[in-house]
Subunit: 130 residues, 2 copies
DNA sequence: TAACACAGTGTTATAATATAACATATGTTA
DNA sequence: TAACATATGTTATATTATAACACTGTGTTA
C-alpha cells in the first residue's frame, strides 16, 4: 500500500464522476459531464485519466475504450487486472480472485518469459441479462 | 474444425497483408498498403477485418487497436485468446497454452458465472528487448 | 423465367477516440 | 529567490471507426 495520493482538481473531478457511475464511462461522455465545472477540452480529460490509471484508481476497459473505477484494493496498481463484461447490457465487474491473479502473475510462456503485467477480459451475460 | 472458408477478394487481400506482416497492423496502415489494389476506403478494410475476426483468421489486439493473423489452429474461433506483447518493440505473439486456455475457459467467478469468451493480454519485454 | 434474399462492393460523409504543441500557472525544493 | 516538476488551458490535428446509400453478383425458389 502506497501513500494516500493527493489528486489535483481535474483529477478529482474526473475520478468522482467515474466512481459515481454504475458502469464504464467513455472519455467524451466524461467531458460532456464536466463542462459545467470549467473543463472544456479532451486533453484535460485524457490527462486526468492517464494519471488515475497510473496510480491505480481507475482502469481502462480496452475492448470498450471506456473507464471504470477500481473496486479492488488488492490489485497492485493495475499490474494484474481482470474484468467480467456483459455482452448485452455493457455492465463491467472487476474480478478479484486471488487464485486467478496468482496463477496469471506467475505464468511463464514456453520460452520461460515472465510478464510484468496482464489484462484479462471475460465476456458473457451478466446475472440480470441471462 | 469447420469448412474451409472461401474468402472474398477484399477479405483475401487484407488477410494476405496481415499474414505477411511480422507484427500487428493497424487498419489505416493496411489501407495505405492496398490502395494500389483498388481499395480506397476505410469501410472496405473494416468490413474485411470484421469478417476475418468472425471466422477466426485474425485477432484484434485491443490494447493496440491492431490486428494479427491467428497462428494457432487450436484457438476455437477467437473464443479464447491470449497474447504476449512487448512494451518496447511492439512485438505480439499469440500464446497457445492448453493448460492456460482450459483454466480460463472453465473459470467461474464467485457467483458461479461462466463466460463465453475471454481475451488475455500479457505485457513485458520480449527476448530480443530484454 | 421473375422475384427474392443474401453477401459483398464502392463511395461519400461523418462520428468517436486520442494526441501534439505551446503558453501559462502553481507548488515544491535548493 | 531560482530552478524544477507537475498541472492547467487552449487550439488544432491525428487516428480509429461507423453510418448511409446505391449497386453487383450469386444462388434459391416460386
Ligand atoms: Zn482494480
Ligand atoms: Zn447484462
Ligand atoms: Zn488464434
Ligand atoms: Zn521487444
Amino acid at each position: 500500500m502506497g501513500q494516500a495520493q493527493i489528486l489535483s482538481r481535474n483529477q478529482q473531478i474526473v475520478l468522482d464522476i467515474i466512481e459515481k457511475a454504475n458502469g464504464p464511462l467513455k472519455a467524451y461522455s466524461i467531458l460532456f459531464n464536466v463542462q459545467k465545472k470549467g473543463i472544456n477540452a479532451p486533453q484535460q480529460i485524457y490527462r486526468a485519466l492517464d494519471k488515475l490509471i497510473e496510480i491505480g484508481k481507475i482502469h481502462k476497459i480496452e475492448s470498450k475504450n471506456a473507464f471504470v473505477a477500481c473496486r479492488n484494493s488488492n490489485c497492485e496498481i493495475s499490474k494484474a487486472t481482470a474484468f467480467s463484461i456483459c455482452e448485452s447490457c455493457e455492465m463491467v465487474d472487476e474480478i478479484s480472485d486471488v487464485k486467478l491473479s496468482k496463477y496469471l502473475s506467475s505464468f511463464n510462456d514456453k520460452k520461460g518469459t515472465k510478464y510484468k503485467r496482464f489484462n484479462l477480459e471475460f465476456f458473457g451475460l451478466c446475472k440480470k441479462c441471462k
